[in-house]
Structure formats: C-alpha cells, structure tokens
C-alpha cells in the first residue's frame, strides 16, 4: 500500500479571503473594523462641523458656573447661588434616594406578593395574580401620573386640618399628616447622649452576630443546634432600652404641627417624591413577585420531600433547603430589576421631581445650552450605576453558582 502523498498546498488566491474559513474570520473583522471606524469618524466629523456652524465648543466649564435655579428637595445644602455641578450632584443624590427607597419597598412587597401567589388559598392567589398582571401590563409612566393625581387631588389641603372640628385628621396619634402638599412624618431629634445610645445599640448587634456565628460553628461541629433567636432579641432590646432611660431619653420625636396654612417641622415628603417612589416600587414589586415565585417553583418537589423524609420540620426545610437554592435563582434577576427601577426613576420629570435628569439633563441643559456635554455626563452617570450593578451580579454569580466540574 502506498502512503498517499500529502495534499499539495494550494497557492493563495484573493477569493480565499471570503470563501476559506481560515481567513474569512479575519477578513470579516477587518471589514467590520474599517466600517466601524469610518462611521465613528463620520459622526465625529459631523458633530465638529455642526458645532462650528452653531459657534459652540465642547467644554465642561459650565459645571463651575452659578446655577441660578432652585431645587425644592435637596439632601445636601444647595441654593440658587451654587454651581451647576452641585445642582447635578443634588440631582444624583435625589435619584439614588428614590432608587434606594423604591428598591427596599419593591423587595418587601414583591416577596410578600410572590409568596402569597403560591398560597393554597384560591382567593388570595387569584387576587395576587390580578395585582401582578395589573401592574405589569400598564406602563409605569401611567402609574406615576395616576398615583401623583391620587396624592394631590384626593388628599385634604392643610387648612382642612384646622379648627375645633376639622374635616381631616392626622393619622397614628396625630403624628402623620397626609395633605395635598405632601406627607409629614415625625422627625427624630438626636439630643445629648444619643451617641452613647447608638454605640450601645451597635455593640449589642455585634455581640449578637458573634453569638450566632459561634452557634453555627457549634452546630456544624456537634450537630446540636443552639437556640439563638430569643437570646438575640433580648440582647438587642434590653441594653438599648436600659440606656435609653438611663441617659434620660436622648432621642425624641418632633411632631409636625399646623401653623398658618401649612405644616411645620417633622419630615416633609413631597408628593412628587412619594408618587415616584410608590409607583416605581409597586410596578417593580410585580416583577419581583414573579421572580420570587419562579425561584421557589424552580426547586423541584423532590428536594422538599427528601428533606421531609430526613425528618426536617417545615420551617427548617424552607430555611435550610428551599431558600438557599431558590435565592441562587432569584438574586441575579432581582438585582437587574433594581437596575431597571433606577433607570425608570428618570421618569421623575413627569411629576416634577428633581432627579439628575431634571437638574443636569433638564434645567442646566436648557439654561446653558450645552446639550452634548450634559447628555454625555448624564449617560455617564447612568452607565456607571449600571456597570456597578452588573458587576455585583457577576460577582454574585461567580461566588454562589453551583460548581459543576
């Protein structure tokens, strides 16, 4: 038998750049790259020409100029004499505030609704499906304006609280007033000695964490569980309460009260903030509820049956078997819903809440006429937030995913 001669190496032809798989990848990439660069330069060239036509330049100096407009809700000191940069920062903080509070409420509500939807009670399960479908299938913008209308049109004016026989009364022992100008809550006042109180509270929390860790360790070594729940409750409550009275009640509440035509003191939450946060939280909670439900349903029934046959009690099955596995499925989409909520908070403009889009991308943009720079900064901010959140998801996935091989 004759060994076949090695195939003659073909000479390179130009058409092989497209037809030969060895070269096709590279040539495709080169073509794409050239088109990409060409389009990019075309866009930049157009922008430069347009800017030159309008007599504008690209400069971020406007951030250091006087803003000259007021922001009604601010977490840091700000006046109309502050700079545009500071206004943008106030806006960023407002955005983050809405996002934070919204995520918190959405998670709690979503967890609640998602678990109730799995309830064996037919009526409750149906009610929760109506809630979920109702919120998921109507645009969030509509929810925002609806809740805003509810808060401004159907709540009493502050003057309705006036007089001996008022039309409206405050809730919860005269502490919360819901008016068409916003809702007033009692504000905590930190008096002398509150530092020590807080310190004792933090210390007791640290002790509890330590005890729990120890109990866990003991359980892993000996198999005996050590009841920690009531002990931790006692450790957290008792010293704090003791110090509270020993130090002479350092923290007190400042109640809102009616003065003239408006409420004074207390924490004032504006309707714009409330409507935005509430609408975003309700809307997102419907999505979270579905995620929670899917996560719990994804754990096969065999898991809980196996746990039950090992003799675990129902709440232990939930805590030790179902939840740890379900969380692995729930957490990544949950976090990406937080991201959606943060991005949806840019709809604040519909109710006049001054978030970063309202300050940097709204009034600052209009006043200075620097559309390009403002939009770049705005997009940069949102990109940073989203990259941060997606890196959290990736980190979570890396550290909690089941390792197969």
């Amino acid at each position: 038998m004759k060994a076949s001669a090695p195939p003659k190496s073909e000479s390179f032809k130009l058409s092989m750049l497209l037809s030969d798989t060895r070269y096709r990848g590279t040539s495709l990439q080169v073509i794409t790259f050239i088109i990409f660069v060409a389009v990019f330069f075309w866009l930049v060239d157009n922008t430069i020409k347009n800017l030159a036509l309008l007599g504008k330049d690209v400069s971020f100096n406007f951030l250091f100029l006087r803003a000259g407009y007021d922001i009604n809700q601010r977490l840091i000191p700000y006046t109309s004499d502050s700079t545009h940069g500071r206004a943008a920062f106030v806006g960023i903080l407002n955005t983050l505030l809405v996002a934070l509070v919204g995520c918190l409420f959405a998670t709690i509500l979503g967890l609640f609704v998602g678990i109730l939807r799995l309830s064996k009670n037919w009526l409750v399960a149906k009610l929760m499906s109506i809630y979920i479908e109702g919120f998921r299938n109507v645009p969030v913008l509509l929810w925002i304006v609806m809740i805003f209308a509810l808060l401004t049109e159907f709540t009493p004016a502050p003057k309705a609280f006036k007089g001996a026989d008022p039309q409206a009364t405050m809730l919860l022992f005269d502490s919360i007033a819901i008016t068409n100008r916003g809702t007033y809550f009692p504000a905590p006042i930190f008096g002398e000695g509150s530092f020590w109180l807080l310190l004792s509270f933090i210390l007791s929390v640290i002790i509890v964490i330590f005890i729990r860790k120890n109990a866990n360790k003991q359980k892993k070594e000996t198999g005996k569980s050590f009841p920690t729940f009531w002990i931790s409750v006692l450790i957290i409550i008792l010293p704090t309460l003791g110090f509270y009275f020993l130090l002479g009640k350092p923290i007190s509440l400042e109640y809102p009260y009616l003065k003239g035509f408006n409420f004074k003191d207390g924490i004032h939450l504006r309707n714009s903030f409330l409507a935005l946060t509430l609408a975003l939280a309700l809307y997102t909670s419907a999505f979270i509820a579905e995620i929670v439900r899917a996560g719990i349903l994804a754990i096969s029934k065999g898991q809980s049956e196996a746990a039950a046959s090992l003799g675990l009690r129902p709440n232990k099955i939930m805590n030790l078997i179902i939840l740890p596995q379900a969380l692995r499925i729930i957490v990544p989409p949950l976090i990406s819903n937080y991201l959606n909520l943060t991005k949806n908070s840019s709809l604040a403009i519909a109710v006049g809440y001054m978030d970063v889009r309202g300050t940097l991308g709204g009034i600052t943009l209009n006043q200075t006429g620097r559309e390009l720079e403002s939009m770049l900064l705005l997009m940069g901010f949102y990109l940073c937030v989203s990259l941060l959140i997606s890196s959290v998801i990736n980190y979570y996935n890396r550290s909690f995913q089941i390792v197969v091989r």
Binding site: N46, N121, L123, M146, K343, L372, M375
Partner: protein, 426 residues
C-alpha cells in the same frame, strides 16, 4: 367452608363522599377554609375586595356618558364617573391630531394589521404570509399618504434584486457570495439612479395617491401602535444578530456588540429619546432633518434590540454545548447550524423573555410623551388642559390603562400558548 360464618356475596355499592368533602362545599373547604390561617386570609381578601368594589361599582356603573363638560357632570352627580370625556374625545385618544376626514386610513391600517399578523401567529394560515410582507409598505402608505409608488418602488427594487439573484444562481454561477454581492449592488444602483425616474413616470401613468399627513399629526393609540409594532418587528432580527455577535469568537465583532449592548442597556430609554430629539442633529451632516417619529422608532428599536440580544443570549447559553458540536460534526456551516439547530431551540427557550421585551417596548412607547409627542398619556394632559375637562383624572387614566392592558395581556397570553404548543419534552 362451613367454618366461615359470613361471606359477603355481592358488592356493596360505594357510598357517596360526605357532602362536606365534594362539590361546592368541598371546594370551598379545601381552597378557602382549610386552616384558621387560611380562613383569616380569605376573610381579609373578601373584605379587601368589598371595600374596593363598594366605591368602584357605583362610580363606574352610574357614570355619565353624554354631558358636555366636567362642570355639567359635577352638577348632575359629583360621586360618579364622568365618561363623557371619552365620548367627546375618544377619536383624539385613538388617532391624535390625524385629520378627521382621514380617520378611515388608520382604521383600515389596524384592521389589515390583524390580518397580517395572523399568518405569523398561527402557522395554520402560513400560506397567507405574502400579505404580511406587503403589509408594512401598505401601512406606511395608508398612514403617511402621498403617492403609492414612493413606497411601492422599494418593493419593486427588492423584487428585482431577488429575481436577479435567483436568475444568476440558476444560470450563471453557483457562488453565493458573488451572486449576493452583485444583486445587492444592483439594488443599490437601482435606488440611486432609476427609482426617482420610475416613480415620476409611474405616477403619471397610474396616479394613485392619498393626501399626505405629517408625522406630528399622528398621536394617540395610533402612535403607540406605530412605534411599538415597528420597534418589535425591527428589533427582533437585530437582537438575534447582536446575540450571535456577542457569542462569536471574532474578538472585534464581539467587542462592538458587547459595547453596544452594554451601553444601550446602561442608560434609560428616556435619555436615548432625548438624544433622538435634541442631539441627533449634531451627529448627522449639517442641514439634515428627518422625521421625529422615525427617529423615535430608531431609538426604541435599538433600545429593545439590546434587551432582546441579552434574552436570546440567555437562550443560547441554555443550550448544551453538544448541540453546537453535533451540528458542526454533521458538516453544517455556521449559518446552517444556527438556522436549523441552534436558533430554533434557543428561541424556544427564550420565548417568555422575548415576549416580555416586546411588552416592555410597547409600554415604553408612552415615554414619547416626555419629548412632547402626543401618545395617549401625552394626550391625557392635553385634554386636561382644556377648559371643559380641566380636573378630570381617573376616567382618562383608566381608559388608557385599559387599552395598554388589553394589548400587553394579550401578548403574554399568546406567549404562554406558544410555549405550550412548542413544548416537546414531557
């Protein structure tokens, strides 16, 4: 035998289940009152339903439908709904500022829309697919008006291109690349050199035209549907390409795709819409100014394409690696294996996500009200700014919400039907 004292010879008929365990009572007991906690939940839910319906039913049931203004409603009975605003303005909510004598055009467009999506939704009617291909052009012509040939020429151009492709492939060469490139070149040349000339002549020979309507006149639910459906149709193929690009092992293509997806997903749609309305003029050659609705459609499409890409990538990642390996070991090329093996499975897994993206896109069309286009939400504020209806809220919002709910809920129901139908395991 005789030791057995008693033998039951005939079968005792089974006695009926206790009345408390079957029928309505049994169902109630099992589903609503199985434990004290369940009973509590049931009672709470009933109470909750009661307080909502107690106010809502009289409000909606006794609503006025034919008053002239909100004032009149309030004079008659302030506690019930004033749906007269819908009676008076429903045309605006549906069509925006579209000229009244031309209302039949969007109406016909939507009726035809139903016919055009049936072949896609239900494979039974796939033989009518040609209508789905004609429909986009027909819809554009009906909605924007003008000469039929300015839309028709696009179809003629592509038709000739396809014809040329087939002829070349049959008669001259089997090489797909050469025939493809030459057909594309032909189409481009056709559009650059012949189309204007042809449109003018066809216009003279067979003049069919409708009065043109400019984009800013469009509004209401028509606008939502235009933006939503165009976005849905266009974002799907772009999303697939982006997902494939992201999975590809060609680093430059992968980088471009990842950059695009992450950028679009990282910023809110509303900033992109602002770019469309404010900034886009900076990026285009000086003096260009193209249709605002088209700009919005492009942005919405890009936005949902990025989301679509991530959903499809999830589906692709869900497929076992063996599928890729098996299809290449059968000798399929990259595109063949994608088309015949990978995509059908990956798309099937990602149906819920895809439909969710569609629903999200359709809901996001309301954001155009923020760049002052007149979609239903934007129109609601326009109507409320009117003296006659100043102060009306719920009637409008409930109606708009209901319109969106019907469309979105319908989509999600269809996706569940599709999932059941395509389920091959179990």
């Amino acid at each position: 035998m005789s030791k057995i004292a008693f033998v039951q010879k005939n079968k005792i008929p089974p006695s009926p289940a206790p009345i408390s365990e079957v029928g309505v009572i049994g169902w109630l007991k099992q589903n609503l009152f199985s434990s004290w906690f369940n009973t509590l939940l049931t009672l709470l839910s009933i109470y909750f339903i009661f307080i909502i319906l107690k106010d809502f039913i009289p409000w909606a049931w006794g609503g006025h439908w034919d008053t002239k203004s909100l004032r009149e409603c309030l004079d008659l009975n302030p506690d019930v709904a004033c749906f007269s605003v819908l009676t008076a303005r429903w045309k605006q909510l549906l069509f925006g500022l579209y000229p009244a004598e031309e209302y039949w055009r969007p109406t016909v467009t939507f009726i035809l829309l139903i016919f055009s999506i049936i072949p896609i939704l239900f494979p039974k009617y796939f033989r009518f697919f040609w209508f789905s291909i004609i429909y986009p052009g027909l819809a554009i012509w009906l909605l924007w008006g003008g000469s039929i040939w300015s839309v028709g020429i696009v179809y003629i151009g592509f038709f000739l291109g396809v014809l040329l492709f087939i002829l070349l492939l049959r008669n001259i060469t089997k090489n797909m690349v050469i025939t493809g490139i030459s057909s594309i070149l032909f189409v481009i040349l056709f559009f650059i050199f012949f189309s204007n000339y042809l449109v003018k002549n066809l216009d003279i020979i067979i003049p069919i035209s409708l009065p043109p309507v400019e984009s800013l006149k469009m509004g209401g639910f028509t606008l939502s549907l235009i933006v939503g459906i165009t976005g849905i149709v266009a974002s799907f193929p772009i999303g697939i390409l982006l997902a494939l690009g992201r999975q590809s092992n060609l680093p430059i293509i992968k980088m471009i795709c990842v950059g695009f997806i992450e950028f679009i997903r990282g910023v809110p749609l509303i900033t992109l819409l602002f770019v469309a309305s404010v900034l886009l003029n900076y990026f285009l050659p000086p003096g260009t100014n193209f249709d605002i609705v088209l700009r919005v459609i492009i942005m919405v499409t890009l936005f949902s394409a990025a989301y679509m890409a991530e959903v499809i990538r999830g589906g692709l990642a869900g497929l076992p690696l063996g599928q890729h390996e098996a299809s290449s070991s059968l000798g399929l090329t990259y595109w063949q294996s994608q088309r015949l093996v990978i995509m059908p499975q990956a798309l099937k897994i990602s149906i819920p996500g895809i439909v969710n993206t569609f629903i999200g896109l359709f809901k996001d069309t309301t954001l155009v009200s923020i760049i002052s286009l007149r979609d239903p939400v934007g129109l609601a504020s326009t109507i409320r700014a009117d003296q006659t209806w100043n102060g009306i809220y719920w009637e409008l919002y409930v109606a708009i919400g209901l319109m969106f709910f019907v469309v979105c809920f319908g989509m999600s129901q269809y996706s569940q039907y599709l999932e059941r139908k395509l389920k091959t395991d179990k």
